[in-house]
Symmetry: C2
Subunit: 96 residues, 2 copies
């Protein structure tokens, strides 16, 4: 079970994650794409990584936008290292 | 461009769509699955139908749940026949 990160630690980690925000005990980012297909492709790529990391984001899609929010259920819904790891993976998918 | 449906017409249409609700000018339903993979498979199947109908739902996924909300942007964000058609398609995907 992962421990919740301190606010300072979350702030420090988000310095390496441009556009990600910490609010409501989650780290979140809204991604925008050319169209629905590209948005759906991104969600699909995220889904494989989520299964591999045994950690699943909240995913909200409307047409060409994808909102991702991460927190750790087993840590009382707080942000843990697992969320930072998955955020970094998602960020790298977006940039590749 | 589709015209907004009347409240009576929406109510009548939802009689054929068990579990679907009309609220905040949208028709919505929460679907639950065995696991994340099944939820993601459902989203993927919806995505092809959405492209074919040139009409896209709001999709919210957390692990094994998928919330779908439908309204028509071109009709001022109101519910139209396009939403009912897509809702029926999504319902049939869920049941097959």
């Amino acid at each position: 079970m992962a421990d919740p990160l301190s606010l300072d630690e979350i702030t420090r980690q988000l310095e390496d994650l441009p556009g990600w925000e910490h609010k409501n005990d989650k780290v979140s980012k809204e991604f925008t794409f050319e169209n629905f297909r590209d948005a759906m492709g991104f969600i699909t790529r995220i889904s494989y990584e989520a299964e591999e990391q045994v950690h699943h984001p909240e995913i909200f899609n409307v047409y060409n936008t994808v909102d991702i929010s991460l927190s750790t259920h087993d840590a009382g819904g707080k942000v843990t290292e697992k969320d930072i790891t998955l955020a970094k993976t998602i960020e790298s998918l977006y940039n590749n």
